[in-house]
């Protein structure tokens, strides 16, 4: 069970959080301008790397804030967590 540091509440057990997948996937400003393939890339394709991964977590049972984390998908070590936009 991972130990995740909420940027506000500090270290809490994994079960207090929900996972939000890859960070940094921004919604296209003008979806209509996109081809179906580009839209599909936004919708479905993911980097899914083996190694360092920027991802989103939500402190669901706590302060309900979303925040970012850099976690290694092989060792599961979390290098850092950070408030979004920081």
């Amino acid at each position: 069970m991972l130990l995740i540091k909420c940027p506000w509440c500090g270290e809490r057990a994994e079960t207090e959080f929900s996972y939000g997948g890859e960070a940094g996937i921004t919604r296209p400003r003008d979806p209509d301008a996109l081809s179906d393939a580009e839209w599909a890339d936004y919708l479905f394709n993911r980097t899914n790397p083996r190694g360092a991964h920027e991802e989103l977590w939500n402190h669901a049972h706590g302060c309900r804030r979303w925040f970012g984390a850099e976690r290694d998908t092989v060792s599961y070590v979390i290098a850092r967590t950070y408030k979004l936009g920081s």
Binding site: W8, H61, C63, R65
Partner: protein
Amino acid sequence: MSDARTRVEVLAEIGHINLRGDPGRGAFREIAERVLGQPLPITPNTVSEGGHRVCWLGPDEWSVVTAAGDAGVLLEQLQTALAGEHAAVNDLSGGLAVVRISGADSRRLFARGCTLDFHPDKFVPGSCAQAGLAKASVLFIHTGGRDVFDLVVRRSFLDYMVRWLRHAGAELDIEFH
């Protein structure tokens, strides 16, 4: 082990006002503190005690715990005073129940179902924390009294929570009220 029996009781007549706003913007914090007559706790997971008990829930969210009878007035005061700010005030009293757990075994009881560290050096008077307890989400409040804790539970989970406490506390020295 336990120097006093641990008591579990459901408190009646508690009011809860949920307050949202950005303490770093506009006059929100100032107004809120003026109306409440006490500081808003800005440090995560802390409580400010005064006329009310104000618990930090998030960087822009607090729970004002007060007597049920005062909640209505407080709600109006806050809403009126904050009318010009980006803020939200809701009276959640109807949806929340408070279970008071006091006594030496309380921390052990929590440890059965919660991953927080309740060591007396860690969860000190003036602390609060939202967390999972067994399969419900709750707010733990250290009331400041020695080993006296309030557990704020959503009302539809109350029945479950009490059952769970009875079960988890079966080996401990606990009386239920």
